[in-house]
Amino acid sequence: MWREFDKFGKKLVQYGLTHSHFGNMSVRVGDKMFITRSGSMLDELDENQIVEVHLHKPTSFDIIASSELIVHREIYKNTSALAIIHAHSPFAVILSLLTDEKEIMPVDSESIYFLHEIPIITGKVGSAELAHNAADALKDHKAVIIKGHGTIAVGKILEEAYVNLCCVEHACKVKYFMDRS
């Protein structure tokens, strides 16, 4: 499984969707979750950088899991997602800071078709507030943007979450330039 994490970790960094340290990924398997370690580099993942934690109760591995573990847990408990990618994608961050709206409406056809509106949520890193807001918004969206922070995208597999995350970034990039043209 770590090879899938490695594959999409490399893609995230390679295509400028985030920098090496800024993001995390997880996959749900039954009542367990595999998640990237806190402090791991997304473009240098190996089997030691993925840890297994329980979905419903704390485990000792919580302390080395991504600091956004609480957010991943809440999303899995409240949605049908089986994979999550969070990345500090630059255009999503910029656009969320440029607007006072609670959502971004894409202007490109692909994103309108796939994403509809993209919610902008708030909450501090690794906080219960962020976990609640993300899980709530992802009940009926494929991705959300945390204001000034980054994108969370979900899917049934990591690849689907990756596609959704790319779609958000593409939508934000197009809209950013459109708004300024």
Binding site: S40, P58, D62, I63
Partner: protein, 584 residues
Amino acid sequence: MKWYGWAGKLVDIDLSHRRIQVIPLELDMMRLYLGGRGLGVHLVYNELTSRTDPLSGDNLLVFAAGPLTGTPVPTTGRFACVSKSPLTGTILDSNCGGRFGPYLKFAGYDAIVVRGASRIPVYIRIADDVVLIEDARSLWGKNVRDTTTALKGYGSVLCIGTAGERLVRFANIMNDNTSALGRGGLGAVMGSKNLKAIVVNGSNRPNVYDANLLQHRNADITRLLIASPVSSKGLRVYGTPVLMNLINYMKVLPIANFRRSTSPHAYELSGERIHERFGVKLTPCYGCPIACKREIKPSGVEVPEYETLAILGTSCEVTNLNAIIEANHLCNDYGMDTISCGATIACYAELNNLQLDPETLISLVHKIGTRKDVGDELAEGAHRYAKKMGHPELSMDVKGLELPGYDPRGVLGMALGYATSNRGGCHTRAYIVGMEIFGKPKLIHRLSWVGKPNLVALLQNIFAAVDSTVMCKFALFSVSEEEIANALSAVTGVDFTSEDFIQVGERIWNLERLFNLREGFTKLDDMLPERFFQEDTDVKRISKSEFMSALLEYYRARDWTKDGIPTHDKLQTLSIAGEYSHVA
């Protein structure tokens, strides 16, 4: 002069002559050493002569709180004790939670210096200005719980059990039953002075220079403690046993005296399992929001720490949780270090080719605590025992101090930290586990030497300063030297930058090194047991040539010679150049 943070005086007690003196402290010295470990190291270095017998009246015991002890800064309800170790012959500092440290400050003292030896058993009672040396003959022969019960009406109790009376070389001093001044035999030093206990109480609070600013500084620290998964999700939820599954997963759990490094039984000893099996009550140290200490309900028996589970448990190949809980409780009651006790038993088991069962483990703890039968030899510690039996290679120690619960083959920063530790095989001097295991503040590759020598030196400096404030090391999983320096400035009114703070630690570290050099230790003592260079576990053995290169790089990072001796220039920078003549 009005003091802030510090009380500004210490009480000096000569047990040989039953003389008690209150001595004022100088601000310039406190700037240089802060308090706690630093003050103790300064006093012990200057007052002891080379080759002092640690179990004679000539040895000194310094109990010292820090400028933050007893203030509202989180996790600072701690104090240190410094002396010459009867186990290692090195300088030894130990650090303890409980309530004694704050109460000492409330009584109006930064430190207690105990010198000489009494002819009869005595205890010291301090209540503000009243300092008494009392007859303790009726307490002699009692263990820690009974002694504490007898004296707790007078305040916070620091005492030895019968292990300290019998000069077990790894005897502890215990605070309020379960908090330990552990490692290296401070309890034996206390026993050699015929000093059974010190009880302290006080009615004053330390002055704070800028209470409003401190509120902001404390808010910063609290926010970071809450945000860090290690403090708020790990230690807070499961205590230090949270480490058991993690360390086993990383294949660095000591098994069978470090012959293996993973166990299929680790889960049985884990924080998760302990909480499944028992009702648990948190028993935090004074002023600590992390609250890693806990006891089992309703018995009140203490939950063993991770190090105990690993060394008294898996390293002895005993994985019966009830047996380890009992052995831990016995060690605390006799007043013995659970790491050294477990490591010595593990060494004994390997040397005699024994497979220990729970009953034998408990029986051996009793024998060591009472120095009966083989317990008399084991009470000397693994190093002396293995050497006496003709197999020194089977003692897993550095400088005579038995190694704790991290197999250095899988954590190379820890390997260098063990080897260069001034008090011997100890994980808390550099405490690089934060980075190599938890990834805090940054995950680093635990099987690489790259950058480690510099990092180990830096962390040793930081923790020496932290031990002098006196703050809990666990807070450093969340806060940095910057937040601590800020809090220190707000409390004392003395401006400390993070660089000043680290330099205090570096000064202390170098002075400790000078003490050890004066005692005859050399670079050859900065070495790990040969097993780690010769044998693989699930992790490969350490390359000795790479280790030696890292050691040299470490000396360079410290501005020491290639023989590990601080240079005159370095000591001058640290304002301790006057000590250079001892090593030149």
